[in-house]
Symmetry: C2
Amino acid sequence: MELQARNLIGAASVQGEGEAFTAFDTGRGEERTPQYRSATSELLEQACAGAHQAARVFADSDRALRARLLETIAANLGNMEDAIVVHATSETGLPEARIRGELARTISQLRLFSGVLTDGAYLDIRVDDALPDRAPPRPDLRVINRPLGPVAVFGASNFPLAFSVAGGDTASALAAGCPVVVKAHPAHPATSELAGRAIQQAVAECGLPGGVFSLLFEAGIEIGQALVADERIRAVGFTGSRKGGLALMQIAQSRTEPIPVYAEMSAINPVVLMPGALAERGADIGQAFAAAQTNGAGQFCTNPGLVVALEGEGVTRFIEGVAQAYAAMEPAPMLTRGIHAAYCEGLSRMADHAGVRIAAQAPEGAQFTSRPTLLQTNAETFLGDDALSHELFGAASLLVMCRNEAELHRVLHSLEGQLTGAVHVADSDLDAARAVARILEETTGRVIFNGFGTGVEVADAIIHGGPFPATSDGRTTSVGSLAIARFLRPICYQGVPQSLLPADLQDAALARLPHRRNGKMLLPE
Amino acid sequence: MELQARNLIGAASVQGEGEAFTAFDTGRGEERTPQYRSATSELLEQACAGAHQAARVFADSDRALRARLLETIAANLGNMEDAIVVHATSETGLPEARIRGELARTISQLRLFSGVLTDGAYLDIRVDDALPDRAPPRPDLRVINRPLGPVAVFGASNFPLAFSVAGGDTASALAAGCPVVVKAHPAHPATSELAGRAIQQAVAECGLPGGVFSLLFEAGIEIGQALVADERIRAVGFTGSRKGGLALMQIAQSRTEPIPVYAEMSAINPVVLMPGALAERGADIGQAFAAAQTNGAGQFCTNPGLVVALEGEGVTRFIEGVAQAYAAMEPAPMLTRGIHAAYCEGLSRMADHAGVRIAAQAPEGAQFTSRPTLLQTNAETFLGDDALSHELFGAASLLVMCRNEAELHRVLHSLEGQLTGAVHVADSDLDAARAVARILEETTGRVIFNGFGTGVEVADAIIHGGPFPATSDGRTTSVGSLAIARFLRPICYQGVPQSLLPADLQDAALARLPHRRNGKMLLPE
């Protein structure tokens, strides 16, 4: 498939006229071709106008048609697999197996939301029938979730497919019935283009208005910021840095009409190692930890950046396990030169810290590769320096040694909101783990026993979210079927004639949809 | 019941040491006794500390116990009915029947949430069972809604019971398992005290920690603002002015950790009169409109402040109906001197507007009473002056005459987000009403046919909310069973041992709760 290096504005492909940029292959150490040109404000205007024009038709489209749209995108992506693998591995430095796996995940995410649409429970339909003889009479009341309107989605650097152009934010927004304007991440424009064309083509194949989807390229940040400020945009999905997320939140709050921003930002995802678990299988946990930490060169939002344990012999075995795993690893290139530079700098700063030392480290690799490292400090040092709890994006984690449980609890209490919190236990640890689990429950979106946060299952029973600053809105998730809720709002219809109700709220539709009627939950046969 | 005029700090009653204030009886034109003293920052600190300490126990309390708490509050309020009527009528100028009705509503709201707790669907439980043989294996995944933590609630001036100390925000937050710190509205301290004591007593009767509920009095705004800024507070419920709501949003966003603010602010709730309906029953609609507009002296958030109609004979009959209804009305005292003064000033400003005239007006009444008024202008004037679309709190509405449907649509499109939008139709209007209904759907929380927004049903199928600035968060409602969702967030438990799961997520509990398991919705027998 030949790359066109054009912005996708609804059904059209348009050459940008802004700043030019290219991706960089960190694995080969070379600039890629073709050159992409940033969208100008004129293209942004066209994308937003198209989304706005398409919003009503798309909101009123059949769920079955939107399910077909998602299935068609999934199929189109599947057909492009080889091209996607070529470009995505080169643009991200990630290995082929990971890209194939991530593409499969992206496709299954789209299909999950197709299933959500068929099921219909996400509509949360409620009907309270009219009571004309009551004093005062009760009118017919119906509530249904409706789409918010056009959504801006920002592609993430670290998941060129699953959290990017055709990723979870786009899939859930399209499922909700919201047109999407994506601002591609400049680190992987070719992968973005391919995914964007898969969507653009699917929109056409399903006979939907082109404005349902647009894709803008940009080297910088101005067009992305203007997108969030545009009054036609009604919600924002973002996965990226804390600085970027906070900036978008600020823009969204400063609008004449503020809009929700679902920003997934920074997290260090504490892992607590309980003494019984360490005594039983310290080295194994160390091996498993190293595998989780170095997955995707450590460039996961759920990467275990903090390990907390009580002093003792078990910890030594854990460190040995980590070191052993590191020794057998191939150095992996990082996503971009910028991310690699920030990683190296952060790692040096940590290692140079007076109270921190290196407990285990992988051998040095070629340029732009990550060097998996486990640093070590004690609770007192950790609690005395906020900087030690900041995210260091990449394969670097800090092991904090605690003298007793109280100190361990203080370390956990000192943390900001997190995506995940994990605890490794043996049966003998269960009593002591209760208090740890409670702290993690209050500060994270997902509490994990005997596992790590990396590898977020795409499912009904998943939350990929968490209290600020892990995300901007801890009441939501960006992975799993519940993610659709971010782009909906409930509307009440009081005494509205059948023919003017949304199709799913009409009497004829209710028998086929789960709904609550006069206080009772009813499921279709 | 003797008034104590004290702040309720958990189980204790404490004399404030801040600014003194009294309520004013607008019906009798006199200051009331006793004097209340504002809480100081020391009492605020105690209230927040108590709420924080109680949060964990309350979050883990049985749903049945919280249901009992709500039922006990309801019963305690019922036992105080006569005392509440004496004080609330005097503090608000509202008639006895309205106060008795509002108390019944408040009690039924508490009982609604007791039913929500018994039902358990609000937990939105999701279970995806472990798949140990899959590659990679899937761990046991469970999601449940958990309480956000302590909630700050601000009493509204216009509903001294249903949107105040023991109102919908408090009922839904307590149901969710969140401790509540209420900042009473200074216009009705005695009513607030009684409701607060009903809750304080119920908390004790149910053996819950006192910190589950506190009530702070304040003449000014500093303590309320500090309450929203307090890091232990996790969400805010507010009903009041746009200025007040925006200020709280700003404080909440500026915190180290921003929190959600559910502020219900201003709305003018457009009412569209279609030609067929006016021809068929113009005078009747006028009478019904006047009744809705003057309900509670027009001091409803859902008050119909804007009427939009096509020019024609039917409108004349509508105005005649309004005038006829006005002529038969008793002037009603307004809530406070301040509200009355702002109403008079706003009414004068509107009446003095070059393009506006008075179409119908009730006779002048005694001091502090409202003077129901229907003003009239044309679409061109309305569209040319933003000030004409601002809320004027009280019984005053603006009728906007349009020359054609396109102009009528322009008027509707020009409006900000609203709580409700109503359209009055005859069968002959249905085609033309479709476009109107669509505009209202996009800009309001509740679309009403042949009715008015006043009288918000407490039900499953109700939304009392709407796009900004009607509320700060159009994805939620402050009335009805869905209101509980504002104070919850979903948490995922991955591979967590049964004994460490929240009770409702354990296998033993699932059979008695609606939940989604492996993609299938299951209801208890």
